[in-house]
Symmetry: C2
Subunit: 253 residues, 2 copies
């Protein structure tokens, strides 16, 4: 049984708590959050808003906003324990040296009211000591099949790539949705396409999966689209993304 | 039984042929293609490379590249029949007036070696005559639950939106993949994230689903990312997408 304390009960903290609660090998003995929380239905454990009340545990998991990680790691009333953060972009060195440092980064997007299947989520771990790598691997494997050791330098680049395929992609969904609503069409029309676009790259690499006017060098359609967007804030984005795909074509030829 | 001829056996023609072949209400009596084709395993029908040999049918479905649609519609040896194209961006008026005009546009991305479930795909139909709308609705409903009448003007805008959520999104997948491979990490790491990003907008609107440094106004992480990309062709794209998301934040405040 691994005794864990979760510090910070935002999206990541809550999702980890739910996932750990399903495992018989992990006990979340306490949750700390600076303000009061609501427990997910059917789940409960000791809770405190006072960092000085934080108990003794094997692993302390800090899942607070990036800029508070250092402060929280310095405030935990524990020494020579394993303290990990869950951030994609914060270096392991930012953690306080009063405890052994580690990282437990689940590479996923967590939203309220959207349950995720942890078993498929890559958990990127890092630690200073071999025994902590072993412990974090064990912790990760209770909830995921994809635990992987990744250094802080690699993790920063992984997180950067994740911004492209998640946040920027989601922004494009938003643009699509707005273009439709301007023309009184329902975003639902695009959902099967969005789903299939994501599904295709499970077995095709993105370069081979590409289709559309830019891929086909269909300059007439591109011109029509730019014309349709002539008063739109999205015309520039269309032009740039199209040029980027045309450049990929040229490289491939 | 609706007797159909498919003209053009590229991705769309092949996927339609497969889908129609599963329906007892449709008979694809012939396929025309300008060059020889290979039939999908287990499927067969009359085939010709000579447009003059094209038979008589109730519906002619033209699924050739956009810039050949007009030419093929003028070359079919038929009169006063229903001739439809399957393109997102070609106006119904581009079809030859020698037959009744229509559109049968499945809003999906079709790739070789990637079977799709037609039942979920919106089929956007258009026709000059009420009876052809009825016929195309019947044809569409044999393969899909989402047949919808959409005008050429609306379809152009729908297709434009589709480019954003499909081709441009796929380009971002490619960027993510390249950034990882430059650092010897496997694109598989990002696949669960990509899947979840697409899944989330099935029940959240994209604006509410947004996460990440730009959404959080996390200027420190954004700066780190721009620094990581300092010699990369993708730095500009990162900056622009980030600014666009920051502008959305401002609007929402």
């Amino acid at each position: 049984m691994i005794r864990v304390i979760i510090l910070g009960f935002g999206n990541v903290g809550q999702h980890l708590f739910r996932a750990f609660s399903k495992s018989k090998e992990i006990e979340v003995i306490q949750i700390y959050n600076r303000s009061n929380i609501e427990f997910p239905e059917g789940l409960q454990t000791n809770f405190t808003t006072d960092i000085q009340d934080v108990k003794e545990a094997e692993i302390y998991i800090i899942s607070v906003p990036d800029d508070s990680i250092k402060y929280i790691s310095e405030s935990i009333p524990a020494f020579n324990k394993l303290v990990v953060h869950t951030s994609g972009s914060v270096d392991i060195k930012d953690l306080s040296p009063q405890n052994w440092k580690g990282v437990f980064y689940p590479l996923q997007t967590f939203s309220k009211n959207s349950e995720v299947d942890f078993s498929e989520i890559p958990i990127c771990i890092e630690a200073e000591r071999i025994e902590d790598i072993v412990l974090l691997t064990k912790l990760g494997e209770t909830i995921s099949n994809k635990v992987q050791e990744i250094s802080s330098v690699e993790r920063a680049k992984l997180h950067l790539s994740a911004v492209f395929v998640n946040n920027f992609v989601n922004y494009l969904y938003q643009v699509g949705s707005e273009l439709l609503s301007e023309n009184e069409m329902n975003f639902d029309l695009l959902k099967p396409l969005i789903k299939e676009t994501a599904r295709k790259i499970e077995h095709l690499n993105p370069e081979n999966a590409q289709t559309g006017p830019a891929k086909r060098n269909d300059l007439k359609t591109i011109e029509n689209h730019l014309h349709l967007l002539k008063d739109s804030p999205y015309q520039k984005l269309y032009a740039e993304m199209t040029e980027a795909i045309l450049r990929v074509n040229d490289k491939g030829d």
